[in-house]
């Protein structure tokens, strides 16, 4: 399977995910200690943009003006953020050798397929009368209770 076909397959999988699932994947990638996988981030953002074309924030020209007026040239306490692992090594995620690139792509594909399969199975089970989500909710409540008790 060529990379191009792989990319199309991943896009198709993302297109079947709910908007909240896509947002959760972005949140997870931001909180992970690993460097960002820009192929995945780009695909997720493109899918999100398609579903929610309107951006809530300041338009780009206004934001650029704000940057020049209020930010440009001022001090930042985070200069070392440009030195941290992930920023320096990020070039390898895109420009690394071919096998690494393919490996990350396959991992991405497998992860996306697993997520979709799990959710599809849950929905099918729910539709055929098994209260999967109810059971999960109960389990969650129990966990919270256990957590609260141990916390005390």
């Amino acid at each position: 399977m060529s990379d191009n076909n792989g990319a199309k397959a991943v896009e198709m999988i993302y297109s079947r995910m709910s908007t909240e699932q896509i947002k959760n994947m972005l949140r997870y990638s931001a909180m992970s200690e690993e460097e960002l996988n820009m192929e995945m981030v780009n695909c997720l953002l493109a899918e999100l943009k398609q579903r929610e074309p309107e951006s809530e924030g300041m338009p780009v020209l206004e934001a650029w003006e704000d940057f020049n007026e209020n930010w440009s040239g001022s001090e930042t306490a985070y200069l070392d953020f440009a030195e941290r692992p992930g920023v320096e090594t990020n070039q390898n995620a895109i420009y690394g050798n071919k096998p690494k690139h393919r490996k990350s792509f396959k991992t991405l594909l497998v992860a996306a397929i697993v997520v979709v399969l799990v959710f599809t199975t849950m929905i099918v089970a729910q539709a055929s009368g098994v209260d999967v989500f109810g059971a999960l909710a109960k389990m969650d409540k129990r966990n919270v209770l256990v957590w609260k008790l141990t916390d005390c």
């Binding site: 953002l45 943009k49 951006s55 924030g57």
Partner: protein, 158 residues
């Protein structure tokens, strides 16, 4: 305009929308997300040598922003903990801070108050400006300064 400024502007125009979408999704607070994007470009400006020679500048920017987001979370957590030990009467539009923490002298009561409004209550900058009776632009600058001071105070605390 020199080549560095041109490059930063070009990258800003090309990446701003996606960066803001990413930050807004992760942080939920719009103004805070906006700040995170601006801070990332400020870092890119200050580290232009590294940024401009990166073979993947978009990835560079996003990873810098990821680090800034991680830091915002760290500050938010610290403020949430601190907030619990402070006396507050928010209904009257004011936070009366029983302020006797170890950060005294490093960050003013007002700066801490502003950060708590933004980080803990998700107030917009416009709301904070209105409460303090200052312009939006002045408010942005004060919050920016407050974040810097708080970061320095936390670093000294380590």
């Amino acid at each position: 305009m020199n080549s560095k400024e041109k490059y930063i502007e070009q990258m800003y125009m090309a990446n701003y929308d996606d960066m803001l979408r990413f930050a807004s999704t992760v942080l939920n607070y719009r103004d805070l997300a906006q700040d995170v994007v601006q801070e990332s470009f400020l870092i890119a400006q200050a580290r232009a040598d590294k940024f401009m020679t990166s073979p993947e500048p978009r990835g560079w920017l996003f990873n810098v922003m990821k680090n800034v987001i991680g830091n915002v979370y760290k500050q938010q957590k610290k403020l949430m903990n601190m907030k619990q030990s402070l006396t507050e009467t928010r209904d009257h539009g004011e936070l009366e801070l029983g302020f006797s923490t170890k950060y005294k002298g490093m960050i003013s009561d007002e700066e801490l108050q502003m950060l708590i409004w933004v980080y803990c209550y998700g107030c917009s900058y416009a709301e904070v400006a209105e409460r303090l009776g200052i312009t939006l632009s002045a408010c942005k600058k004060r919050i920016q300064r407050a974040r810097r001071r708080f970061e320095e105070a936390l670093n000294k605390d380590l």
